[in-house]
Amino acid sequence: MREALNTGPGRVLIGVYGLFALAAGARAGVQIGTQFSEAPLAYLLSALAAAVYVVATVALARSYRRLALVCCSVELLGVLAIGTASLVDPGAFPKATVWSLYGIGYGFVPLVLPILGLLWLRGRAGRRTPDSTRA
């Protein structure tokens, strides 16, 4: 029996992650499709962030604990790193990414979301769980 990650508060996280996967994905798609040369780095980062949100959504929905842990960690590191970098060197990020200025353009949700995700995963770690490699 694997620890379910997709009920209760987990279902709320899935919803918000899904929303961000959609928002970041659509935005990155439009940016890369129409104006990629303007800010390749920012747009590739947007695409990376979108990909992480998609994987995180699936990981939570299917209770892939380890994968969810990796995604939330990558997000947290990403938003902290890019947030700090965009403060220190605004010139490097001429166009906003989801993670610029710690996600200010998205009401700081990109900063809060991985923290909530990690707390949720920790809260569910009470019982020892077999490896979640099952499809």
């Binding site: 009920t7 508060p9 709320v12």
Partner: protein, 121 residues
């Protein structure tokens, strides 16, 4: 010009529905019929806004960020039903939180739709 009165109505409805759906979250209850009804009204208003946007485009309007505009309109139309679907799977306070979040997202999307409506930015 976007139909501001309609956008304003949807925004206010979204915020009111969010507050109404927050009550069961705080009381540790599942949503009941009153919340589904409120969400239904919100979706009706959202649908009116979406129809207005479609008419806007059908009349030959071409917002500067055309694809993005359509994306936001589609998202606007889908967010409340998807939140309701997810909330139905979760008949607890957490389901109520899901529709609360969904209702809050609606005014945000309206804001963006209005910004992109005719143009420049």
């Amino acid at each position: 010009m976007p139909p501001h009165w309609l956008g304003t109505a949807v925004t206010i409805a979204g915020l009111l529905v969010a507050v109404w759906c927050l009550v069961p979250v705080l009381r540790d209850r599942a949503v009941d019929a009153s919340h589904w009804a409120a969400l239904g009204i919100l979706q009706a208003l959202v649908t009116a806004e979406v129809v207005a946007a479609i008419v806007h485009l059908a009349r030959g309007a071409h917002p500067h960020q055309y694809v993005t505009f359509i994306g936001y309109v589609v998202a606007l139309f889908l967010v409340p039903p998807l939140a309701m679907l997810l909330a139905r799977l979760e008949p607890t306070r957490w389901g109520a939180l899901i529709v609360t979040v969904g209702a809050v997202v609606v005014p945000v999307l309206i804001l963006r739709v209005n910004q992109l409506w005719s143009g420049g930015a």
